[in-house]
Symmetry: C2
Subunit: 554 residues, 2 copies
């Protein structure tokens, strides 16, 4: 008899977190995590400083973290490898790298070990903005419709901008690479020996067409050196829950793993999914009008609809990317926890830090506590929290943050609260844009670190959005959701909805909107929206001009 | 033979600072200072909380501080009272109070001791904004031209708005007061027994007409209860350097002073001047095109011209307010040192504060040092430093501060620098407005705490303005300038320019503009100006709307 357990591995920005699930009950059997030894490299690489906007990782770290969490799962759970029916892998997206035909990353080759373009370019690598801008401009001229499913604009975080950046700056890396792939697809390839691509990433980040092939002619028009792009982007495209292959005999060796704490050859491996997409499963039935929000360092929103609509400024619309039969509209905020952490780190005054230390709370904890005593509008402040650019609905990394309404009375917790409110307002812009386009949004499920840890922020979201917010318990179990897909890939359930129905977890909390606060927020939101459009849509492009002056003067 | 010394008393926001000068050489013989025991009362008065915008002082504090500094001057200098030919008093403006016919403040009367409107309303008391707004609106309708010499707008800091606020909120105080006067005129009255008014304050703050009388009909139209306004605003109007009267016999008793350390009866007392106006003397020849800038907690600018022009948004244009024969155009920034202090107090993170403490520097010192290593434009930030409203050229206390260009990389010293730059940019707006109106600005003389203590800021001013900045040495001797006027009042010199020529001090420092930095600043300034107009001139009135929401939600 086939095993009843599946293992999910969630590769985040800084670590791999894993989960072993019982597919019959949805119980969590064991969890494990392992940070990447080198973390994110954005300032320097091997002692050489990196250009602005770089964010690289070493694929060796992914192997190390994977092997370590696999060993821990076996150790903690005591299950035998034959009890495990399937494996799923999700990854930040687009985190991409060039590899040889056998799956070996170019960076493992001493020829390329010093070349930044041979490393994995992490999702938040923003140095390809220039290429993204040209892709957007060219597509309007020569390939209208190409970007319809990615909100009309090519993002700099996607594979297409990053591969061009590599071609243009390190043509030798491009030439030597047999494939250019998402790190998640690469992990699956190492395990199975088979090159597949998850459909969600391919469509939203590599601009695959409705026929599910790369837009080769368009790439060639952009740059004739893209003549062989179809080869670099080869691989079978698969929908979520599909089996991408089986764990191969030599995988333990490739991963430097102890064969005693490793998967049995033949274990089924689900096709890679983006971490955001994967997070959908495990929260019960997902239908039209559901918004699943993953709110952590940044925020990723997935809104599900039955119809295909063009919505400018979203990151992507992919049929069946998470749930068969449903279009998934992706969008997000470029920063969330990052914004609040930045403020708490850099602007908490000494007496606040002292008070926090005395109370045994964090600076964020203290700022939250003080901010929670304020009423909406009481501080007279509004912020645009674009300190890491604006992902949706403006898709512009050159935008920046602002705050208005400062007076000599303004206190740190008031400014902090205004930035927190900007996250909720930014989310309302996204939801209202979907509604205007004819995609209803009726249910809000939140997961991720902020969703789990900040009742203050989640109540604010409920009040600003005028919607009930359900907190997914899966925030505590990264990797669980992809284990649900692995159960489908392993044939335990025939469809993703079937697996979701059995393996669901009930919300860990619910936040009910308050009408009185909501009314004040609506007045503030009207002002927010005016600033959003004025600074975000080109009427005053001061943010971009400041970035340009900054670059030329540095 | 008459004494050759004069004593100047400079009543600031928090203390009285005095200076004894040798009128033959300009030497400083002694200085003294004394803080006001109760300081500024803005949160509560006698245990009762005060409305938003209140800023009161107790006139008993002025008497205490005056007597104390007089005693110190005598003690430190060893001069005898007969060696002192004249006394001058300058004061923050408009700091106003209601008094009885004999000069006794209403607040000394137990009937009024609990009434906030019986106290001195300090210049930065902003609670009369509503009344100022109506005066502006009404003057346009029924008395065009009235506000031409105050920039077209009635400021809430002036006597006219404050007296109406008193009439409307405490009619019993208005009715009981024989006079409503500037605190500086009141000090002169206590000393001499004679009611005079300095022309500068009367014209700019009490809206006295070209005929140098109050606009009684206009006040009556505003509110029929103003029928007796001419009596409340009585007193002889005098130009700077005029003798307002002589120290009277009973003054020692009135001031609770030791007669041994007090002025000789008959000593000449100069008419009161605003502290900003008085600051002009002592810096050598002041002619057309000179800008004298007093940069401390806020910044007051006086620009001298030979012609009368209408410049919307300035605080006043008064003929002969500081130098006979010259029009003095007054303007300013609502905050300067206050802005930088606010940021340093509330947003300096613990590790910076620790570093500052270890180096024995202040937080402002550390932020300055770090900010000084940055190049213009390097941080990609622009601020509107209106955290205490905008005095010139917008005359609007409901405006607030903003900063734009924030990213996850933004550091405290970068934000601090952007706020510092906003002071220089705000100054450039003022200078360019004068130039456009046909009033040249060719020479910049700076004094005050910031001018003296911050070479960083003064160099920035030079670079942004493209002008050489001379630092007046008088920053170290508040009270010296009014002692120069006292020398004229005492008849030692026939005219103010004569006194200025002899009693001048040479600049303590000069800052030369750097062209390269100036060019970058000009690019930033263009962006600053666009934001200035957008938020300041009504196209987007979000700042005012936020203030309204704030008031209704508190």
């Amino acid at each position: 008899m086939k095993g009843k357990f599946t293992a999910g591995f969630d590769f985040g920005t800084l670590s791999c977190r894993a989960c072993l699930a019982d597919t019959m009950t949805g119980d969590i059997i064991a969890t494990a995590s392992c940070p990447y030894p080198h973390g994110v490299m954005s300032e320097s690489l091997n002692g050489h400083s990196l250009p602005d906007g770089f964010a690289l990782e070493d694929p060796a770290d992914y192997i190390f973290a994977f092997t370590s969490t696999v060993r821990d799962l076996f150790f903690k759970s005591g299950v035998s490898s034959t009890d495990i029916a399937g494996i799923g892998i999700d990854f930040t997206m687009s985190t991409v790298l060039p590899v040889y035909a056998d799956g070996r990353p170019l960076v493992f080759d001493s020829k390329f070990a010093q070349n930044p373009h041979a490393y994995a370019k992490l999702w938040k690598h923003h140095a390809a903005q220039r290429y993204a801008d040209i892709i957007t401009a060219e597509s309007i001229k020569s390939c209208p419709g190409l970007l319809d499913r990615v909100g009309g604009k090519c993002g700099c975080e996607g594979l297409s901008a990053k591969i061009w950046e590599t071609l243009d700056n390190a043509p030798e890396v491009y030439a030597a690479a047999d494939y250019y792939i998402e790190a998640g697809d690469w992990m699956v390839m190492l395990l199975t020996g088979r090159l597949t691509r998850g459909v969600g990433a391919a469509v939203t980040k590599a601009l695959f067409t409705r026929e599910l092939v790369p837009p080769t002619d368009f790439f060639f028009k952009l740059d004739p050196r893209f003549a062989d792009i179809d080869k670099k982007l080869a691989g079978d495209l698969l929908f979520p829950g599909s089996c991408a292959g089986h764990v191969r005999e030599e995988s333990a060796r490739i991963f430097n793993a102890d064969p005693e704490s490793w998967f049995a050859p033949g274990t089924e491996v689900a096709v890679f999914m983006a971490d955001g997409h994967a997070a959908v499963a495990g929260n019960g039935t997902i239908d039209e009008g559901c918004l699943v929000a993953s709110i952590g360092t940044s925020a990723a929103y997935m809104i599900f609809g039955r119809e295909e609509k063009y919505i400018p400024g979203i990151c992507g619309c992919t049929y069946g990317a998470a749930i068969p039969g449903l279009y998934m509209y992706s969008s997000g905020l470029s920063c969330a926890g990052d914004l609040l952490g930045w403020y708490a780190d850099r602007f908490t005054p000494p007496e606040y830090a002292k008070e926090a230390a005395e109370n045994g709370e964090t600076n964020i904890g203290l700022l939250t506590r003080k901010a929670a005593t304020l009423c909406p509008g009481e501080s007279g402040l509004i912020a645009l929290g674009w300190v890491n650019g604006n992902k949706s609905m403006l898709q512009d990394t050159d935008l920046s943050g602002m705050i208005i309404g400062l007076t000599l009375r303004s206190k740190p917790e008031e400014i902090w609260r205004a930035f927190a409110e900007s996250l909720a307002f930014g989310t309302r812009v996204i939801i209202e844009s979907h509604k205007s386009a004819g995609i209803p949004v009726k249910k809000f499920i939140a997961l991720g670190g902020i969703a789990e840890k900040s009742p203050f922020l989640m109540q604010m979201f409920a009040d600003v959005l005028g919607m009930e917010i359900e907190i997914s318990p899966l925030a505590q179990y990264p990797g669980y959701s992809i284990a649900v897909y692995a159960a489908v890939a392993a044939g335990i359930y025939p469809t993703v909805p079937d697996a979701c129905t059995v393996m669901k977890h009930t919300p860990s909390a619910k936040y009910i909107p308050d009408n009185k606060r909501g009314e004040i927020y609506s007045r503030l939101y009207a002002e927010y929206l005016k600033l959003y459009d004025y600074f975000g849509r080109g009427e005053n492009d001061v943010m971009k001009k400041l970035r340009r002056i900054e670059k030329t003067e540095n």
